[in-house]
């Protein structure tokens, strides 16, 4: 049994989802900044994997038993730079629409390579988020809960 290959496979599957008008990115495609690449949905570099839990579900030691492996993959959605429109909140409704499309894509593709089940685990900080350079963007954080069956 192995851990890690599942994370990579799930991240790759999420990057392969089709969301109209949004660039979906994998762990090897995280942009150094949000400049010129928005709208973009990519792994959150700081804390990509969190809330890891392992539950033993059958007998067997040293790789011979079965485990339920649960974790959360944390993504960031950058919609558009703050201040990039005439009105301060002109881009807010468009951001909400894109977030809805992203969540629908995840909910309608819950059986992906690398995992038994994925589902939206929550959204946070909806509004102003910052990219790795510290620049402000309209966007949100999206948590995706993942369930893997680790088996011999």
């Amino acid at each position: 049994m192995t851990f890690g290959t599942g994370v990579a496979a799930v991240a790759n599957s999420i990057a392969g989802l089709t969301v109209a008008g949004v660039t979906m990115r994998d762990t090897d495609q995280i942009p150094p900044s949000g400049s010129m690449v928005c709208p973009i949905f990519c792994p959150q570099p700081n804390g990509f994997v969190s809330d890891l839990s392992v539950e033993r579900t059958t007998f067997g030691i040293n790789g011979t038993g079965r485990l339920d492996l649960r974790y959360t993959l944390n993504y960031v959605y950058l919609h558009a730079p703050v201040g990039g429109s005439v009105g301060a909140f002109d881009l807010y409704a468009g951001m909400m629409s894109k977030i809805a499309l992203i969540l629908n894509a995840i909910m309608n593709n819950d059986s992906v390579t690398g995992a038994e089940d994925i589902k939206p685990g929550g959204i946070g900080d909806m509004g102003v988020v910052i990219d790795p350079t510290g620049k402000e963007y309209w966007g949100t954080l999206v948590a995706i809960d993942v369930l893997e069956y680790v088996q011999p």
């Binding site: 579900t57 059958t58 007998f59 067997g60």
Partner: protein
Amino acid sequence: MAKITAKDAILLIGGYNLSSFAAAYETITEIDPVEVTGFGDGSKNFTPGMKTGRISATMMWDKTAASVHAALKAPGTGIVSIMPEGYALGNPSFSLPYMQANYLPQGGVDDSIKIGTLNFESYGVNVGVEHGVALAHATVTGTTTGTGVLIGAGTFALYCVLHIWTATADGTYSIVIQESDSLGSGYGAAIATFTLDGTVIGAERQLVASAARKAYMRAVATKTGGTAVDFGYSILLAHS
């Protein structure tokens, strides 16, 4: 003594090693209390009645050949054995000749497919759950002479259980139990001989009538013919 983890338990059902599909087990030995309270007794008075033996196992689903669904979908009779601490020579074991009472495939939207809790009820002329020791649990490719286990000399019946969980694809095996007064030598003729020859997955119980027994017992699996291919088996021994 320290607590011992249950995660290394080995569960054998009708020869099939289903440990990695078993989530929990329970062995039950109960004695019906028969009331014999009479006038003058200071409190209610009971005498032992009939014994009940049962083993329950909570299983995961698996449709692979020679696995859970194939082994258990048609409730029948057989032998179930558990090594609660896993295998080491002489480790404790529980065995029971059983009648399988149920088969319960089930699933929930947010869960894996399960078989539920299966009940294996005592079946045939036996003494209920047999508490014994493990003499062997291994995958071998040829004749294997086990190391003796100290049972203790005395007069008692023997309940000998064999599980074959990986049948040999070439050749046959003769599997016996021998006894001796000493650990390393002096083992005589077989005191129990199994009829299964290793060519199919299965389980067998041999009852050896009560007699004077020597202190040490070991299992011997002797291969005849064929090439060196895998053969997986377990031998458990209990006594009255």
